[in-house]
């Protein structure tokens, strides 16, 4: 019905034909980018760094270094993890991380020696002469076109390119790994969540390198067109990008998109830029679209220039942050150190410190937790009483703002009744956890938390089902093996029995003769 209305509307010219297109739902929020200052603050190196050994898919990684080794900056510590600075490995032990439950994960504790010497990243394995960024890029493109996946993957590993956007998907895999040709590469500079302005600060400071990074990404992904999407509430950044793009017009075009939360999320951004809504069970790469964060593009350029990704910019903001600013820190720096080194330590004890934005983040219980590639913001908020939720009256305001076109009131009903099949019927896995439904709910129900709970339950149930199927297979194979073995034994016994009965007559004679001899021998003994 609605698709009918939409096609009718487009044919009558209601929907604007050229981009940026509008997407369903979303909310105009006050950006309040407090952290945006003139420049990015560079605090000194911390005394020690904590590097969690965990990858994007939350699997633990085995370290390639041991306790006591001294490492150089950029040296590979595990698959896709490089040492953020030079120093000695003090310990490899479980350590609390930025996590809703401060989950302890196996991590490397690296004591910094302060020299920050950059060593030859691949000194340990096969020696490769250190080419400049452009020859690294050409080598990568040659490897990719010649299809040598393993060598390419090894080279990419050294760059340790994990995405700096919200999801943190490994960038190399996005650019190089996809089988279907890439039609549109979108550089996501939308940064729509309030308080977070790290990308905007990056664009204001080094837009030229960003454009080089975008150009490298375009060549690597061999995409037909590349679009840099940025919200219209960032005039200074837009100006910088336009002037930087002037000298490399082929690389990408700039598209100014309306400021509306959550334009920065992948599916609304793709719909906003290309006008195509990717249904929830398909991946953007199936439609030839790849999105990477603008900070990741810059990191790509630095990585090609033999400076693997080991630091990032993050915003310090929030209502009660004394002096909010954007700060560039190495991975593994603890939140405590950042707050102290930027003069914000007064908020540490009697305020709520949050990691991540107001909508995508959570309150931290322990502040000595390390920064990783996915932490884009630290907020200080006043303590506040939560209004307890009233009953859901199915008013549907959440359905009007849901960018994934879902029915949050139905999902909430099935999730709270622990009816995971009902949640699947209403496509819970399409929920991007943006939080718009929470913001408009008149009964202030914690909808996003309910959906995160139901999604993790569904994921856990699926892993159990996989384990059950595997267990059942092993059980049937074992039953089959035992049966075969019993059959084989039975058959062997029958053969032996048959050979005994059918043995020819002479053998019988010999046996009788032997018996007679034995009897004869016994006779004389008794007569003595």
């Amino acid at each position: 019905m609605n698709t009918l209305l939409n096609t009718l509307a487009t044919r009558l010219g209601f929907h604007n034909q050229q981009p940026p297109f509008s997407f369903h739902g979303g909310l105009p929020l006050n950006p309040n980018k407090r952290a945006l200052g003139e420049s990015i603050v560079e605090p000194p190196l911390p005394p020690y760094l904590i590097i969690p050994l965990i990858n994007y898919a939350k699997q633990s990684l085995t370290p390639t270094v041991a306790v006591g080794d001294s490492v150089r900056r950029g040296q590979l510590l595990a698959a896709g993890v490089v040492a953020p600075t030079s120093g000695k490995i003090k310990a490899i032990k479980p350590h609390a991380t930025i996590h809703p439950d401060t989950l302890a994960v196996n991590a490397i504790v690296l004591h910094c020696d302060g020299e920050d010497k950059r060593g030859n990243p691949s000194a340990s394995d096969n020696p490769q002469e250190l080419g400049g960024a452009s020859d690294n890029l050409s080598r990568l493109i040659k490897l990719r076109s010649s299809g040598k996946q393993s060598q390419m993957q090894q080279l990419v590993d050294q760059f340790a390119l994990s995405g700096l956007g919200g999801a943190g998907f490994p960038t190399a895999e996005k650019l190089l790994g996809n089988t279907t040709p890439v039609k549109t590469l979108i550089i996501n500079a939308a940064e729509c969540e309030p308080e977070i302005s790290c990308d905007e600060a990056l664009i204001q400071s080094d837009a030229i390198d960003i454009v080089k990074g975008i150009d490298a990404a375009v060549q690597l992904s061999q995409c037909d067109q590349c679009i840099v999407a940025i919200e219209d509430s960032k005039p200074a950044a837009i100006e910088n990008l336009q002037s930087a793009l002037k000298d490399k017009p082929t690389a990408a075009q700039l598209m100014i998109i309306p400021t509306r939360y959550p334009t920065g999320a992948e599916s609304p951004l793709i719909e906003c830029v290309t006008g195509k809504y990717i249904p929830h069970n398909q991946k953007p790469t199936d439609h030839g679209v790849v999105c990477i964060n603008i900070a990741t593009a810059l990191a790509l350029w630095h990585a090609l220039d033999n400076a693997p990704l080991d630091s990032r910019v993050l915003s310090l903001g929030g209502q009660s942050m004394p002096n909010p600013c954007n700060v560039r820190v190495r991975f593994g720096t603890t939140v405590n150190f950042i707050l102290h080194s930027t003069g914000n330590n007064s908020v540490v004890n009697d305020h709520r410190i949050r990691a991540g934005g107001p909508l995508s983040g959570f309150d931290l219980q322990n502040l000595s937790v390390p920064i990783t590639a996915h932490t884009n913001c630290i907020l200080a908020e006043p303590r506040v009483e939560i209004t307890d939720a009233q009953a859901c009256i199915r008013c549907g305001q959440c359905a009007d703002v849901c960018p994934a076109r879902l029915l949050p009131q139905q999902l909430h009903w099935h999730a709270m009744a622990d009816d995971l099949n009902g949640c699947k019927q209403f496509q819970l896995d399409a929920c991007i956890e943006c939080g718009c439904c929470d913001l408009v709910c008149p009964s202030s129900i914690k909808l996003t938390e309910t959906f995160r709970y139901a999604k993790s339950q569904a994921r856990f149930r699926d892993t159990l089902e996989l384990k059950a199927v595997a267990a059942e297979q092993r059980f049937t194979e074992r039953e089959h093996r035992l049966e075969q073995r019993a059959l084989a034994r039975k058959r062997a016994i029958e053969e032996r029995k048959k050979t005994i009965q059918s043995s020819s007559e002479p053998d019988r004679e010999e046996i009788k003769a032997a018996l007679a001899r034995a009897r004869a021998k016994r006779q004389p003994k008794q007569s003595r």
């Binding site: 019905m1 609605n2 698709t3 909310l27 929020l29 006050n30 809703p100 309030p194 308080e195 929030g318 209502q319 709520r352 949050r354 107001p358 909508l359 983040g361 959570f362 309150d363 219980q365 907020l379 908020e381 303590r383 506040v384 009483e385 939560i386 209004t387 307890d388 009233q390 009953a391 859901c392 009256i393 199915r394 008013c395 549907g396 305001q397 359905a399 994934a404 076109r405 879902l406 029915l407 009131q409 139905q410 019927q425 209403f426 496509q427 399409a430 939080g435 929470d438 913001l439 408009v440 709910c441 008149p442 009964s443 202030s444 914690k446 996003t448 938390e449």
Partner: protein
Amino acid sequence: MTRIILDKQAVTAPTRNTSNIMLLVLAALVPGIAVYSYVISPIVVINALVAMFSAVVFELLAVKLRGARGWPAVQDGSITVAAVLLALAVPPGLPFWQLLVGVFIMVMLGKQVYGGLGNNPFNPAMVGYAALMISFPQNMTLWFAPGELHSAGFVSLIEAKLGMGQTDIGSNKVWDGVTAATPLEQVRVWRLQSLDDNGNSTALSLAFSASGWLWINLAFLLGGLFLLYKKVIQWHIPVAVVTSFTLLTLLLGQSQIPLYQLVFSGALILGAFFIATDPVTAAASNRGRLIFGSGVGALTFTIREFGGYPEGIAFAILLMNLCVPLIDYLDRRPD
């Protein structure tokens, strides 16, 4: 210190909560009640107050029995809105004890037995109304023509409703002159009388505008538009109800009554804007609401035109509440 995951207060100013929504609906009902009490009788205000008070008392009792948190459960005001709607739907002359029975059924069977606000599949006010309609049919169709009650005197009417004073007031001279029930009831009676021998109905002009029903419905329409403007309700249900009703009246309606009189009579506007749009018992998606609304409109027409009851909107809404799980089941894909 409570740990907050999604920090709503940091991003948006405090939004309208459920209690405000209910207050807005009550405010939207005020113009309708005002015109109703002016044109018919101010007794309706007393009916509404009695209904509201008893509804809150019953709900507190039920909530205590159910072991839920006492006052906050009642504070969201949803039961007071339902009580006012019930008071408006029943005729003003209904004795108080019957109104209390209706409110009791509304609170207990309509809402609390299912576990409180948000869990009930049927619209509580309509459950109460339907139960009253079936158990006290005679009293429930005892409406008054505009201006009729002014002569009867306000106090004697109160006594009659309390069952004191002249016990048989229901049948003595004050009321025996009952000329017009709701225009609809009267329409059916006149249509049957006015059918001449070969069955086609003669033209019939009703001094309609004189009767206040038109103004009452216009006042409710005003309240409904206010709710639409304040985004308390979406347009899908009221528009669907009115359009499907009008279409069917044009196509199949036999009575010669001009359309606007039919639409603006009885409780169609009150039902379309206030009762059918109760979000708890209506369909979830916009597409579902369109289907739900057109179903209510169609059933109201059928019951009014062919059925036994003068006002079909109550049963229409209950019947469509019954179909809401089917609509939601069929409408699973996000539109």
